[in-house]
Symmetry: D2
Subunit: 161 residues, 4 copies
């Protein structure tokens, strides 16, 4: 999954490990459920956070053995922040591509970025922030090396319905 060049483009800047290359983007496809629409006739804005999460889980499954594997090692990833900008509405039965990448990881903190597209047109962007904690003590633990390496070397794979 990880090409040498992808690794080479990482830069360590003031203790932060950035993933600068575009190869880190992972594509996940969702179809808008009827239950996700609202009385404005469009997908409710909270649905995007659920799609982001589904895409993030699919990315982890592709590059790090899956979120269940991470939890099996006693690590939980808490969500500490989210941000979404909506550019165009999505409607029932739309097929959307959620592009996701791990944009930054430092210590016990992660940040993912997202672009939602429909037929090649961008309809929303966003990001989520996370902290890894020990599942038992709930205390912060550094992002494990094996996870960090896999995530930041990225993937161009895709998944979806």
């Amino acid at each position: 999954m990880a090409s040498a060049s992808a690794v080479d483009t990482r830069e360590i800047v003031r203790g932060q490990l950035y993933l600068a290359d575009m190869d880190g983007w992972f594509s996940h496809v969702v179809r808008v459920r009827f239950a996700e629409t609202d009385a404005q006739g469009i997908a409710h804005h909270a649905s995007y956070l659920v799609w982001f999460e589904e895409a993030r889980v699919a990315l982890l499954a592709a590059v790090a053995g899956g979120y269940p594997a991470i939890r099996a090692r006693g690590i939980e990833a808490l969500t500490t922040g989210v941000e979404v900008t909506y550019e165009r509405a999505a409607v029932f039965d739309d097929v959307l591509t959620v592009e996701v990448r791990c944009a930054e990881a430092r210590g016990a903190r992660f940040r993912y970025e997202y672009v939602v597209e429909r037929d090649g047109e961008r309809i929303a962007t966003g990001s989520t922030r996370h902290a890894t904690v020990d599942a038992t003590t709930r205390r912060p633990v550094r992002v494990p090396e094996w996870l960090l390496g896999d995530l930041l070397s990225g993937s161009t794979q895709s998944s979806g319905s």
Copy 2:
């Protein structure tokens, strides 16, 4: 909460404890959230299960010290079945009264009944079935006497937003 007459109307029939009196009904008020509507302009049919659950939790809080108290005693109540009949649509911002009562309890099994009303008009009815299990072993445990007594003696209290 429990009147003597309410207790008197209980009948034990073939090992089943029925609550026959109407005083067992408990009222809980919900207001339809925008996120609960769908592109048909009405409250999505799955929302009713969430309202039923909220009403059930409010009933337990009134008569049995609350669901958290039950969980603190090492008991979980699993949902084993649901059934809803929709008579009229609810729309955004509707104020609904969810009437709930524990209609039956036997061994490790419970059944609740629900009536949803808007301005005194019935818009839906339903029921849910539950089984009590040990929170650790997940094995069935009989509904505790203290819980059974409180639930079946009912309440005419109400709660809500």
Copy 3:
């Protein structure tokens, strides 16, 4: 999609059109989202109604040009009843097969049946009832012949993530 034999097994009994053959079952795959779990560590019971709906929409897409096409003809399908029996819990990331078929259609009324399986083991069953109405007047309209024929002749196709 419809084999001759599938059509032959339909029976009209007391004005009701039943679909008796097993070929009518359509398979749709869902993966349990983290957002669909609850604090009991399992998929929340209301999630099944959303999966049923997604499976129903996929069936309609396969045999009747899709729900958007039906709405384009000025017909809405309201949900008038649901029923679910839960046999085993589903957990995060489980891959589930939702089998769905249109079990009955009469006048303006439909009924679908569902079986949810994980690794070939049944974990839940259910059914939903629907009424077709004119999208503008909201008055009942008979299930159109073209839709009825397609639905009841069934499909063995599958879809899903």
Copy 4:
């Protein structure tokens, strides 16, 4: 609802109308539903957007005749952006106060700010951005004066379950 002093504290800076006074905050109470929790045992992060919306609707009901009244005048408010920072987890049955105020309104654009508290302790903050459009043409329309005045003059009322 609006005190003279509240109005006086408004400032127009570079074409933007700010509401600087703290009196603009409106309190809305929610109780965490079991359906809103996830397998981490906490309220799912997407739930906060639904609570924000419920608080916003309650604010509009208090100061501007309610969102249904706004829709009745042919205006829809689209959500164009959201942002949440999570500081502490909320759990099932927690009683939360969602403080909301309209922090900014300019042309066809609104911005609301939120603070979520539990027992006086802040557990999350956030903001949402909105655009008012004509419900029929979906084209931007300026925030009506009558709505603007009511919103920015604020309220110290509260609502909730």
